[in-house]
Symmetry: D3
């Protein structure tokens, strides 16, 4: 069997036929982080407490980003998301901010790409808001944590979750 | 001075005023990778040689993604990109695909976010096309490599470039 | 109970989970007006009769606007609209143009925001087309008139409808 | 002279030719409000102080909305915004939230529509977040306050500004 | 009966009510071509074999284009596509490239417009990539080949299919 | 010289560098038609005169479509259009509707793709509004008529203009 399902028998890219797949509840969770200097992280934690809510802005960007997934990823099916939640966690050492996105739909295809897109847009927005202080920040460890629903069943990343529960 | 330029004196998010900044040539380069199992990487390298051009699809997605940056990142200024180039490099050990995006504009603001968005969308598209084979792939090391132009001048990441020249 | 359903128990914004809600027919009607000088209104009524169909252009903009609701309003669920109708009414005294939008879907969430977005984009388009003659026009009285369907049941604005039947 | 510049001599809609107009700094300010019950307003003021930052979310939506203006308003020219700022003011009596948006560009056309679109999207987002508590809220008094730059020169609304300075 | 279903009894454009229509499998196939000089066509066939994959890029554009149909065509309903496939065929004499797009959904409305939009965006992308060599290329014969599903039943173009099977 | 400028020396697609090109006035004109049965055409001409303004809706769609060109065509540069005009002509024999779009910008790249995209979206919208009466309509003869401005200078299609002056 060809494991590259996004290509047909002639090797041409296509949007896979999901017409005959049943609507089921699909849940996907993804996470990732942005690493930065301790002094940069301090700007965020001070901001959350008082002025300049970096993570509040990034949360909205992440939610909005999940809705644009099928416009960004060429072979993704458009789908109506039924839930999106975004959690940020500040890690003191080594200094980083973790982002975890949970996406849901009731439909014939999974929402893994939506969850991953949300993480990326959320972390990129953090980068944007802090880059005047620190251009060298790095996004790391962006990956799918789990998915449930659909014919292929449930799946969990073998390395487990790195974001604090 | 407040290093969080995206917030005003009251701590409210705003799109920074660049009306008085001169138009100059701005260049930004960003990179990042997606790590995967060796058997997954083999699907890509076989595809590039024959059927199923994973990286060709991802390159188009990355270019298209750079154009959507200001829609995705709330406080980014919209700007007319004057060049976008995307390079992929296959790394055998540890198995990974690297993506490097160069973005340019002639204008009052930089294109760092556009280059980073291109890298992220390019790598996410690789993930999408390979996820039927390997859901556990991880995106790592996404960061700005360099920027030139503008009042703040040139900048290079102190850790240097990881993608093969 | 927290009446701000768009925030979770920690006060963080999220897109509410509607995965378990049943698909039902949802209808929402919204209205609003743009007030202008009598001489400006005359330009519109002359246009509709002959050249320059201001309201025809605004109707298309309103319909197109309803489809962009979930891109504009951060916590709105994307949904497939099953009907959109736009009515304009010219009011001679005091001079104004009223816009009423009816939106429908069959799904787990309501279409109140879609109807309101349609009214706003329709009225803004009228403003745009007339602003060379009169920059001082004001948009007023934009509100939901009624909604039906869903668990919370039917609702009608206590003040009734201001647009002519 | 035909005051409906958005229609040509045959009465057909077109996007007006601005090719020969000089690039100048353009500033536009618009305002408007959403009226609600006092008990609904209390939910917002409590949120700003602690959990559930309604106005923070609406501010991001307003900024993002200004960037979509030329997609929403058919005859608007696309333009690169050089600044967007959004201010919200809570008015106790009669209970309402005011929104004021300042938009800037350096170019051949004005940004009045961008400022007005920002006000509308900002107020609609407030509506969305509070509608579980109060569906009867009304958007009122949305209008241009001032514009500067361009051949037609400066303009101020004769009724003055209603939002608190 | 008024055959212009996109207008109501008053002659006003609206998005037709499909709320009561059943979800069925809908399939539409469309085709069209771009005619060019033989020397221009040679650039494409050489590219496909080696460097510069014109048709690979156009295929991705066509797939992405189908997803934007309801944003482009004012009275189209937004719908979740369940399959999109794009085939290109090179015709030596007279020199042309044919594009055929198959679109599917499970829903209350057809996907004819999505298939046609895919053909157009695919062919336009071919034009864009070849226009440095030949600005005089012409797009021809863009039409619906067949549709199945829905109350109006199946339909095939009386002139048959021109693209090679 | 490689005439496929959208591919680099390695044959990879890229967005061509226009950073060093001067801003000049660029004008492009494109045309095309949709062929239909005489009885279908009669529905349009009756509509224009009285109810159901098919061409008025299609004109707005064409203008809006030009603004989306760089989102649809992967290697197109985003650019600020400074003028868009759309003309429709009804041709009695053989029955067809012609569409001609003029696009302008002041910038470093041409607007040929914008003019062509406008023609296509305009004609597709006509198809959409008439397809309940006639699914067999065909889009034909879509091509660039002329372009002016830029280093490559002026160009006119050797076959001349088919739309009535």
């Amino acid at each position: 069997m060809n494991p590259l399902t996004h290509f047909d028998a002639q090797g041409q890219a296509h949007m896979v036929d999901v017409s005959a797949k049943a609507d089921t509840l699909r849940v996907a969770v993804a996470e990732g982080c942005i690493r930065m200097q301790a002094s940069t992280l301090a700007l965020v934690t001070q901001g959350t407490a008082g002025k300049g809510d970096v993570l509040g802005v990034a949360r909205i960007a992440a939610i909005q980003g999940t809705k644009r997934t099928s416009e960004l990823i060429p072979l993704c099916h458009p789908l109506p998301l039924s839930k999106v939640a975004v959690a940020f966690e500040v890690q003191a050492e080594p200094p980083a901010i973790w982002c975890r996105v949970t996406a849901q739909t009731v439909g014939p295809t999974g929402v893994e790409m939506e969850a991953l897109t949300g993480v990326q847009v959320g972390l990129l927005t953090v980068y944007d808001m802090l880059k005047a202080a620190d251009k060298g920040m790095t996004l790391d460890g962006i990956r799918l944590l789990s998915k449930t629903g659909g014919k292929s069943g449930d799946w969990q990343h073998p390395d487990g979750q790195r974001t604090p529960a």
